[in-house]
């Protein structure tokens, strides 16, 4: 459901910066359904990759083989991401706060002596800064949806309205957060993430119970359309290619 909802966020003809895992699956699902001209950009330097199976890492050979161009890593960040050429960036999160700030660095303790050491920033800080907009995909729980992240790895809306502009961040920031419970979008005035849609069968109470702050709920809260038969068929076929490749 998260994958399908994420795929639906991608408009045809846009350029999308893709990490491995769910973002890659979602982007390839979008390409196989409603967005055949979606341009996939992987930080390994593959521009316009058109894999016919799911890649197993951001450096999978299938990405280089099918790309319009393979460029160096400095080039993908300097010539393609930094100037704002990429419309959509996909990010995950270990922690997320009400302003869409993301932590993927450390949890608990302090930085030098953390409770849990996570992988760190990777491309995320500059994806969050420079893409036209950001789609965050994350499971919703009290562990991840917390009032204040332990470490700001990637900036959402900072401490609220105007902060991105003050920091000189030129991308639009998180436009949507897709979870296993529903969809959150920033309030246009307060920038606070607001529950705007629920997946089929999920209640507002469940969403509130899985959020570490007083979750705002949209007045016109709607349900996410369930996955169509076509979406599910294509998704299953994509997942199957992964099994085969991992062989």
């Amino acid at each position: 459901m998260m994958t399908v909802a994420a795929a639906r966020q991608l408009r045809d003809g846009t350029a999308c910066f893709v990490g491995i895992g769910l973002p890659s699956t979602a982007a390839n699902l979008a390409r196989a359904t409603h967005a055949p001209n979606l341009v996939l950009i992987y930080e390994s330097g593959c521009l316009g990759a058109k894999p016919d199976r799911l890649p197993l890492s951001i450096g999978d050979g299938i990405l280089a083989d099918t790309a319009d161009a393979v460029v160096s890593v400095p080039e993908v960040f300097n010539y393609w991401l930094q100037p704002g050429r990429i419309d959509v960036g996909f990010l995950g999160a270990a922690q997320l706060d009400r302003y869409g700030n993301i932590n993927t660095t450390v949890i608990g303790g302090d930085y030098a002596d953390p409770k849990v050491r996570l992988p760190g920033a990777g491309g995320a800080p500059e994806i969050a800064a420079s893409c036209g907009e950001v789609v965050v995909v994350v499971r919703q729980s009290l562990r991840t949806f917390i009032d204040r992240v332990d470490f700001v790895t990637s900036v959402g809306y900072g401490r609220g309205p105007g902060d991105r502009e003050r920091l000189g961040l030129r991308g639009g920031g998180p436009r949507v957060v897709i979870t296993d419970l529903g969809i959150l979008e920033p309030d246009p005035k307060t920038c606070e993430l607001t529950l705007t849609r629920l997946h089929p069968g999920v209640t507002v109470e469940q969403a509130r119970a899985a959020t570490g702050w007083d979750l705002a709920v949209a007045g016109d809260l709607a349900a996410v359309d369930p996955p169509t038969e076509h979406e599910l068929t294509v998704l299953r076929a994509l997942e199957a290619t992964k099994e085969v490749a991992a062989g």
């Binding site: 491995i20 895992g21 930080e43 390994s44 330097g45 593959c46 197993l56 890492s57 951001i58 450096g59 999978d60 050979g61 990405l63 280089a64 393979v70 160096s72 890593v73 400095p74 960040f77 300097n78 991401l81 930094q82 660095t105 930085y111 030098a112 002596d113 953390p114 409770k115 849990v116 050491r117 996570l118 992988p119 760190g120 920033a121 990777g122 491309g123 995320a124 800080p125 500059e126 800064a129 420079s130 470490f151 700001v152 790895t153 990637s154 900036v155 900072g158 902060d163 991105r164 920091l167 000189g168 961040l169 030129r170 490749a245 991992a246």
Partner: protein
Amino acid sequence: MAKLVSLAEGVADLVRDGDVVALEGFTHLIPFAAGHEIIRQGRQDLTLVRMTPDVIYDQLIGMGCARRLVFSWGGNPGVGSLHRFRDAVQNSWPVPLELEEHSHAGMANRYVAGASGLPFAVLRGYTGTDLPRHTGNIKTITCPFTGEVLTAVPALRPDVTVVHAQRADRAGNVQMWGITGVQKEAVLAAHRSLVTVEEIVDELEPVPGQVVLPSWAVTAVAEVPAGAHPSYAQGYSVRDNDFYVRWDAVSRDRDTFREWMEQHVLKAEVQA
């Protein structure tokens, strides 16, 4: 001109205790065999530099070779965490590991500055994150034309960079293709460089997407077939994804890890 050497000679000559060592390769062409040789030769006190420390750095760290890690993303790609890396950071096992942490864009630009003979690089990066609070060498810089404030990071100049490539010719010219990441910059930024290659050939047939490192810009070349395994060399091998998945279990426990390294690395036949 690059010297043709054996892997053992190359590591013995070029990688020294206490060095700043970069092993690069972005998912593709990761110099695993060279990393194993560094472990076998018992190097210590290294500052390891790498954008994406993955399994090879988990092994070097778990074997106590490193004192410091300069990086931007430390995980087992597509699988999860690096347990030896976490154990070193969280529990100082087997030795404490200092971290210097950046973003990919920052690390890539630090290599570019090093390759360019500049003391620093300018980028739009890190702004608003907590990274500058914990990483000393991220500063601001003001554009002398517009007054805009940007980010500066210092050049990376490793003592030695090690990369793996598909081929070299007998004169030591190196050819790689597919995803070539930041390897050219990492080699040109370093004082010394060691390139392991799948094979040494008489003539480098041009290949689309190739990056060529001229012999005179490389210190030494060693022929090490399959030297990137479990990573891959496009045109020669495919990624051993199962290995990456299995590594999760091997590396979770200190004893299992030691035993595995003993058997598969320390006792391994040293490649000619």
